[in-house]
């Protein structure tokens, strides 16, 4: 394949927007248990805004797409997830090196830069019961699969699986960051909403790239 191009990235974001819309109530429900019952509404508002700008002014290259997505999320989401998801995409932009299509390792490095941004902004460590617990294992799996010579599609599939495992593993965790941390012990036994949306993000990437390869 010729790398992940702007079209594939658009498909990624649209697929993510669609799954967030479909899972909106479920995400809010998870947030009701250990937060303030708005994560679904927040992510849906943000991704609807992203889809709107994709429709209106299709970005020229991956860097523009990431930057515009990040800015849109920062501007429209608010709460904790807005700056975090926003930073993720904002940090991916410079990591593309201006390429029109991202080679697998460039895509993986861009994602890694995004995750680093999330950690720099939110100071969460793995095990704190946040979106990082889905994102970090996903990117580790992605790197490992690519290093082992797998295709990007296969590697993203592995990443999506790892994200889902990471998401599931948030359930027994005691929250140490974000709103859920206020609950102390009572945060145990609930799946983290942000890890859940993050797993949807990685799954959407896997399906968008699989589509591109199939095409």
């Amino acid at each position: 394949m010729a790398g992940v191009d702007t079209d594939a990235l658009q498909r990624w974001l649209r697929a993510f927007a669609a799954s967030v819309a479909a899972e909106k109530d479920a995400l809010t429900g998870l947030d009701a248990a250990i937060g303030d019952a708005d994560h679904g509404a927040n992510m849906d508002r943000g991704m609807a805004a992203v889809v709107a700008f994709l429709d209106a002014t299709p970005p020229a290259d991956p860097a523009a797409l990431f930057k515009q997505t990040g800015m849109t999320l920062v501007k429209s989401v608010g709460g904790a997830s807005g700056p975090l998801y926003g930073t993720l995409f904002l940090r991916m932009a410079p990591a593309t090196g201006g390429a029109a299509a991202l080679e697998p390792d460039v895509f993986a490095k861009a994602l890694r830069a995004g995750l680093d941004g999330v950690v720099a902004r939110g100071k969460a460590e793995p095990g704190d019961k946040t979106m990082v617990d889905a994102l970090a294992p996903a990117l580790d799996a992605l790197d490992a699969a690519l290093a082992a010579g797998e295709s990007l599609a296969a590697a993203l599939r592995a990443a999506a699986d790892a994200a889902e495992r990471g998401r599931d593993e948030t359930t027994p965790m005691l929250a140490r960051k974000g709103r859920a941390s206020y609950l102390g012990e009572r945060s145990i036994g609930h799946q983290d909403p942000g890890a859940t949306s993050a797993a949807l993000l990685v799954a959407a990437a896997a399906s968008a790239v699989a589509d591109q390869e199939a095409a």
Binding site: D36, D38, A41, V74, P83, G122, K177, S181
Partner: protein
């Protein structure tokens, strides 16, 4: 869900229209959801900016005006506003003496205000400082978490710092004062019922008829623990004890006692709670000299209350008493 609204998605926007119609002394940028005192920026005065999610009315818009805030940014229900709003507001309330961000300590609010300060620094030469308010003693292990929530203390901080700003104090003096008032304040809340976030349409948590939540915040989140429903007398103890255990409130000019209604609890009950709280303070040798009883920092339609205590020094007391003219707090003008 039984609420006075049209489409839940329009609740905040339509409510701001109502605020605009009812308060000609405010100027509202609906696109950015920023509320300003109509005469902002006040030349030579440090601009005071706060804000946060909606659903806490009269916080935050009810505290804009002479003697208090210059502007607030309104987010969606229980969702921090975004950096663009805050940066825009910062620019528009800078009267030449800089802008102080008074930030309620929630991950989202703190991150968004941080990004706003970065934006403001990049785009303008407005000097910005930020003080984070974190008074809620319910969060015990604050070092290993998002830290204590900002709850009732904001009223004391915003009122006192607002008065000091009117006196022409400098940005760093005000930041320092804000930190001292915050450090002098502790709060603890409880819920009789959950609230219902309009976009969700059902209560955030289920609470049986015979149980209450102790150690809640102001976003409808469950508290630290669930206990059987008991008397106001015992509830007051569950709120006051951890506050007094966390800080010394004796001495100074006495304390400001704030019994805040969470939104659906009648004033009749809040005054009864005030009686219980003040009796406990008496017993502990703490002297209430100023008070506030009512719904000032609410959590939509949650029933319950939050007790907040601030130890006042003579500067703070004088500043508390200084004139203020906002929709939510007003005296002396």
């Amino acid at each position: 869900m039984k609420k006075l609204l049209n489409d839940p998605a329009d609740l905040v926007a339509e409510s701001l229209r109502g605020v605009e119609r009812a308060h000609p002394e405010l100027r509202i940028d609906h696109e950015n959801r920023i509320l300003y005192r109509a005469d902002a920026p006040v030349s030579g005065k440090v601009g005071l900016l706060s804000g946060g999610g909606s659903g806490h009315e009269p916080a935050h818009a009810g505290f804009i005006g002479p003697g208090m805030l210059d502007a607030v940014c309104a987010g969606e229900v229980f969702t921090s506003p975004v950096p663009d709003q805050m940066a825009e507001a910062t620019k528009n309330i800078d009267g030449g003496a800089g802008v102080l961000h008074l930030v309620w300590n929630y991950t989202g609010d703190v991150m968004n205000f941080d990004m706003a300060a970065e934006l403001a620094a990049a785009e303008t030469d407005t000097e910005v400082q930020a003080v984070v308010m974190n008074d809620d003693v319910a969060v015990e292990d604050s070092l290993f978490t998002a830290g204590r929530r900002g709850t009732g203390a904001a009223i004391a901080v915003e009122k006192i710092v607002g008065a000091a700003a009117d006196q022409g104090r400098s940005l760093s003096e005000l930041a320092d004062l804000a930190r001292r008032v915050n450090d002098s304040s502790r709060s603890m809340g409880m819920a009789l019922t959950s609230c219902t976030v309009p976009a969700k349409g059902t209560p955030t948590f289920d609470l049986p008829e015979d149980e209450i939540e102790i150690g809640i915040g102001i976003h409808g989140e469950p508290g630290r623990r669930r206990v059987p429903l008991t008397s106001a007398h015992e509830i007051a103890q569950m709120l006051v004890d951890p506050i007094l255990a966390d800080r010394d409130f004796t001495g100074g000019e006495g304390v400001f006692v704030f019994v805040n209604g969470m939104g659906a609890t009648p004033q009749l009950e809040l005054y009864l709670m005030y009686n219980e709280v003040a009796a406990l303070l008496d017993k502990a040798g703490i002297v209430p000299v100023r008070s506030l009883v009512g719904p000032y920092v609410t959590s939509l339609d949650m029933a319950g209350c939050l007790v907040s205590i601030t130890r006042l020094d003579d500067d703070m007391l004088r500043l508390w008493d200084a004139p203020v003219a906002t929709a939510g707090l007003r005296w002396g003008m």
